[in-house]
């Protein structure tokens, strides 16, 4: 995981730093601004596949090329990174605007699942702890939020309780807290073991949570699930009944998550996480409290999934235990790995595979799952360190070749 290739990459970049004079910067900023103007200017899509799509592809190609060809540790590189992030968020704001509900649901799921995968990447990619219970925490968050903000009547152990009708945003916070609490309880026991054994512990926890959701019919309505309409949902004075408004709430949550995780990873915590991942024995001998840090990574990652769960329930307006079973957890794991472990963009790329890309393949008919599996295998063979990781490697090779010529 340490990535010798990544390292080659950054050595090249350090050298590039001294050669770079930053003359490209104004041009680059102008170019990327123009690209973004395109995004906003064009009245995008009444229908799903239009010639405008090709413009999106062009812009995407431009952003990828700029990231590939311009050394990262330079002024131009910084400009590229900032503009790419802005482009990406602008895309998520503009593209789904005024589109059909199916597209909005797809993008909403992308935003919500991205948060889960970012959380998983923090645990697995940065702190090196494999957890396959992300769907369980998604479910815990979803049920917590649904039970607390609908004023439902539940029956547990023969006692009938009327649950409160709390404001939605408050239940999101509670969902995060409850998921964190469970993760800490599981982590205290489970983090005594590492690697595959930790994966088994979390896997068992996921099964356990599923069984509770399924069997505690009095609380969760069992396998029939719970319908939760957005009808009377209002957040900060905005009516959430239209899916479009709700999608932007999910997007705001995603952007907030990106900022928080970026902050954590660049703080001394990020170094401690990586130290534990690279060599936990050495980390503890240097005074790093390995247990506390791994628990922290685990709690933050799971808490993010809990918050995502609260949003997920209202996005689909329906939750059932099956949505939170192992398959979903493995989807998250797949997205984390295919995107690129221990990179900030990795989860954003990986999640598109389990939402937008796998859904677009439905046009291929009954066998779309098969083709998706095939695509996944091909990607993992071509890019074994995930798309973001292999992208870095490619960039280093290009930089080396250019210097050589």
């Amino acid at each position: 995981m340490s990535g010798r290739d990544q390292i080659v990459d950054d050595r090249d970049l350090t050298r590039a730093k001294s050669e770079d004079r930053g003359v490209l910067s104004p041009l680059l900023i102008a170019g990327l601004t123009l690209a973004m103007a395109f995004l906003v200017w064009f009245p995008i899509g009444r229908s799903e596949f239009t010639p405008v799509m090709w413009l999106w592809v062009l812009v995407l190609a431009g952003v990828v090329a700029a990231n590939l060809l311009i050394p990262r540790a330079s002024r131009n590189g910084t400009a590229v990174r900032i503009m790419s992030t802005v482009c990406f968020v602008a895309f998520l704001i503009v593209f789904p605007f005024g589109r059909a509900n199916s597209t909005l649901t797809d993008f909403g799921l992308y935003a919500v699942f991205s948060v889960c995968v970012i959380g998983m990447n923090l645990m697995f990619g940065y702190a090196g702890q494999v957890s396959i219970a992300q769907a369980a925490f998604l479910g815990i968050g979803a049920y917590t939020s649904v039970l607390l903000d609908t004023g439902r009547e539940i029956e547990a152990f023969g006692i009938v309780i009327n649950l409160p009708d709390l404001p939605f945003l408050l239940t999101v916070v509670i969902a995060i807290a409850v998921a964190m609490l469970f993760s800490i309880l599981i982590g205290m026991a489970g983090l005594r073991v590492r690697g595959p054994w930790l994966a088994f512990v979390t896997l068992a926890f996921n099964v356990l949570v599923y069984i509770v959701f399924n069997n505690e019919v009095g609380i969760t309505n069992g396998s029939r699930g719970i319908i939760v309409r957005r009808q009377d949902l209002e957040v900060l004075g905005i009516d959430m009944t239209p899916l479009q408004n709700y999608y932007y709430l999910c997007l705001a949550f995603l952007v907030l998550t990106m900022i928080i995780v970026w902050w954590i990873v660049r703080s001394p915590w990020g170094r401690s996480f990586k130290a534990i991942r690279d060599n936990s024995q050495r980390a503890s001998s240097l005074g790093i409290d390995v247990r506390t840090y791994t628990l922290l990574a685990f709690a933050i990652g799971s808490g993010l999934a809990g918050g995502a769960g609260a949003l997920y329930a209202r996005l689909l307006e329906y939750i059932e235990p099956r949505s939170f079973f192992l398959g979903q957890s493995f989807d998250f794991l797949f997205a984390t790995v295919i995107g690129g472990l221990g990179t900030l963009v990795g989860p954003l790329i990986g999640t598109s595979f389990i939402t937008i890309i796998s859904d677009s393949l439905r046009v291929l008919g009954d066998w779309y799952r098969f083709w998706f599996g095939l695509l996944a295998i091909v990607v993992l063979i071509v890019a074994p360190r995930g798309i973001a990781g292999s992208f870095n490697l490619l960039r280093a090779r290009i930089a080396a070749k250019r210097r050589g010529s």
């Binding site: 350090t14 660049r266 001394p268 050495r282 001998s285 240097l286 005074g287 790093i288 409290d289």
Partner: protein
């Protein structure tokens, strides 16, 4: 333990009493006691498998000893986790190189320093470098790693990694540093350099050392007191000169 003339009447900094460690039927360390005195360089030698590294692991907390106590100053640390002992002033290196490959040299040193200057919660809200730039630069210069500061640790040569590995132990401004075979795999030219660094830190900054080593010339030249171990127990303790002459040491270790 019998005190030699050099240590008579002084208060030990680290006191290891009757420590034993068994793995299944094998007793790796058998009822070992020794003291580390402030300001000294203590050598620990013995043939392979005699329990030197296991003893270090018991003292530093990587292993929990089956019996016996470890005391630092007046505080018993026998049941402490390794990171707590590190914060209390015990630093170490390992026999095999252990640096963080995915980080730059500078970040490796930052990682080594940061647990000692701020609480976990505090670290989240301070600037990423925690105003550690000056101490990191000082250590980089002392170990002649300045030109490699932004290089990834995985790209370093063996010797450079060895220097980084040792340098990391000093980022916490420790009281005692336990070095496990610092000269292992280091070429003669760099060996002198390493010896110079250790002596410098010992005399200028008063850092106490306990060093496990196979290289006899290196350790006899450096240490003021050497403990010889064999089969999990302490065979003898004395100055380098005494040990060179002792027939038991010659028999088990120096080779007859």
């Amino acid at each position: 333990m019998t005190a030699t003339a050099a240590t008579e009447g002084r208060t030990p900094l680290v006191r290891v009493s009757n420590v034993s460690k068994r793995f299944g039927g094998i007793t790796a360390v058998n009822d070992v006691s020794f003291d580390v005195y402030p300001g000294e360089i203590l050598g620990l030698i013995g043939p392979n498998g005699c329990g030197k590294t296991t003893l270090f692991n018991c003292v530093l907390g990587q292993y929990r000893s089956d019996s016996g106590t470890v005391t630092v100053g007046d505080t018993e640390v026998t049941n402490w986790m390794p990171h707590r002992r590190a914060k209390y002033g015990l630093a170490r290196t390992f026999q095999l190189l252990q640096v963080f490959d995915s980080m730059t040299v500078r970040d490796n040193l930052m990682t080594a320093a940061q647990p000692h200057i701020s609480t976990i919660a505090g670290q989240l809200f301070k600037s990423p470098n925690l105003s550690l730039d000056d101490p990191v630069d000082a250590v980089l210069n002392r170990f002649r790693l300045g030109h490699l500061a932004d290089e990834y640790a995985a790209n370093l040569s063996f010797g450079q990694k060895k220097l980084l590995d040792t340098a990391m132990a000093f980022m916490s401004t420790p009281e005692v540093v336990f070095l496990d075979e610092p000269a292992g795999g280091v070429n003669p030219g760099m060996l002198g350099d390493l010896e110079g660094r250790i002596r410098e830190l010992n005399t200028e900054q008063g850092v106490t050392f306990a060093i496990v080593e196979h290289n006899m010339e290196f350790i006899f030249g450096l240490a003021s007191r050497v403990i010889v171990m064999a089969e999990g127990s302490i065979l003898m303790e004395g100055t380098p000169a005494e040990e060179r002459a002792d027939p038991r040491v010659v028999k088990v270790y120096l080779g007859a």
